[in-house]
Every structure is written in C-alpha cells, then in structure tokens.
C-alpha cells in the first residue's frame, strides 16, 4: 500500500505516519527514510529528537537528503519517507536543480521506492494556503512541492490530512 500523509506544522502527521507504517509493516522490517539535511545545529537537534522518538519502535533510520533514485532499500520492507518539503528544498536549493528536473528526479526516486518496498508511507506538507506572495525562488519551491504531492496523491491508494492528530481521509479510508 502507498499512502500520503500531510498536515500543518505540529499537526501530528509524523506520529500518525509512524503508527500507520508500523501497522502496515506488521512486524516486518521498517525503514525510516529521513530527508532533513543535518547541516545546522537546529537540524541536528531536531534529528536527534526524532531518532529518540523512534527508538524502540522498530525503525531503522536511513538519512537521505536527496537522490532517492540511487538508494536501495531491502525488498519487501515498509518505508516511511519524511518529508517531501525537506526533500524538495534539498533538491532545489542544495543541489541547485531547476524545478522540472527536481520534480522528475523526486518522482523517479519515489517510484523506485514503490518498486522495492512492500508498503510506502510518505509525509507531505500543507504550506499552500497562507496567501503569501514570496520571491521567485520560494514560489518555485511551493509550485514544485505542490506538483509532487498532487502526482503522488493521484496514484497512491490512501491520502490523509492530519489535523490536531486526527485523520481526515481524502482517499482510501479503511485501507
């Protein structure tokens, strides 16, 4: 099963996605694929906190800030990819790719994960409804992230928004 989980900052989407991944894995191998780039002290502190949260929950953590297409995961495992907002930022701003190239690379990388894993849970972001008018780079980032999420939502079996820790199912409730 392929699932997209999205929501605002602090909405509980990570906890929901972790729980969904564990349920899908059903005792099988669980890979936590972290996209946050560990460059800054704040990021490092956040990563350490997230690692601790997952400790004892059965997740093996793999850090992969970009280039998902070059990654092998164990066949038949369950992968939790978190999150698309960081992945898109890394592809666009760290790698310096143009929007279209970044989008195609991310879609190809995620397709490769879909082919290898038994279950894939992807965490996305809800950052599109603030009415903000940003500079060109940020608008390009928002549009690229939106296109990525729209494409995944179209082909995945389940799409869930998390609000205050509660699921709002946009697709595939009950799966």
């Amino acid at each position: 099963m392929r699932a997209l989980v999205f929501g605002g900052a602090g909405s509980g989407k990570s906890a929901f996605a972790e729980e969904l991944s564990r349920r899908l894995a059903d005792g099988g191998r669980l890979i936590y694929l972290a996209t946050m780039s560990a460059g800054e002290p704040e990021s490092r502190a956040r990563i350490a906190r997230h690692r601790a949260q997952r400790a004892g929950k059965g997740f093996e953590t793999v850090e992969r800030p970009c280039d998902l297409a070059g990654l092998d995961v164990p066949a038949g495992c369950t992968v939790l990819l978190e999150d698309l907002g960081n992945l898109a930022a890394n592809e666009l701003f760290l790698q310096g790719k143009a929007s279209e190239k970044a989008l195609q690379d991310m879609l190809a990388g995620i397709a490769r994960l879909e082919a290898q894993a038994r279950h894939l849970v992807v965490v996305g972001n809800a950052v599109f409804s603030d009415g903000g008018r940003y500079d060109g780079g940020t608008m390009g980032y928002l549009r690229t992230l939106a296109r990525l999420q729209n494409a995944l939502a179209g082909r995945f079996e389940q799409v869930t928004e998390v609000v205050c820790g509660l699921p709002v199912y946009w697709k595939g409730e009950g799966l």
Binding site: V127, S129, D130, G131, L142, R143, A146, N150, G154, W170
Partner: protein, 107 residues
C-alpha cells in the same frame, strides 16, 4: 454556481476539468464572458457577489491560513477574499475544497 477553493497549486482547475467537466478554453482569470473564473483572489477590485453568482464555476485560492499581514491593505484584502468566499459558499449549489489534486465536497 459551483465554488472551488484550495491552496496554491492544489490542482483546482484540473479538478474542475476532470471531475466537473469544465473545458480549459472556458476558463479565465478575468471577469469576462467565460463561464469559469479562476484566481478570484487576484482580482482588483474584488467583483460583486452578484457577478460571481452568474458564473458556472468560481475558483479561488485559500489565502487566510497564514500570519495576518502587517500591511493594512494586504490585511484587508485577505479578510475580504475570505468573507467573499464565505458568502459565495452560502449561495453556491456545491462547494469543493481541493488539496493534493483531490476534491472534497463541503456542500
């Protein structure tokens, strides 16, 4: 009139085309004779409710889920877009919210 709201890049026009049968050539970001208006949030001045109710489909970006702008004009604008959509939703025959390209019927 059918109202469609959703965030930037949510896939609102694609939803209107694929699920509501709207034709791309019938869509316009200006208040003209075309039956589908999109980017309502960008129109200056904002049209009257009565004008918008004549449309088959009105599409508007959600703009109110961020920090309230410091600038008085932008602040008023954000509020006005939200209030207008609320009045349109009350009169619309159907209201959809689109996220990640998927639509949810709210009314």
């Amino acid at each position: 009139m059918i109202l469609i709201v959703g965030g930037l890049g949510a896939g609102k026009r694609t939803f209107a085309a694929e699920y509501l049968g709207a034709r791309r050539e019938d869509m316009s970001p200006a208040l003209d004779e075309k039956p589908v208006l999109y980017d309502l949030q960008d129109l200056e001045p904002l049209p009257d409710e009565a004008e918008l109710l004549k449309k088959e489909i009105v599409i508007c970006n959600e703009v109110g889920s961020g920090v309230v702008p410091i600038d008085r004009g932008e602040r008023g604008r954000q509020e006005a877009v939200g209030r207008l959509c609320t009045r349109l939703a009350a009169r619309a025959e159907a209201v959809y919210r689109v996220q990640c390209g998927l639509g949810m019927r709210l009314k």
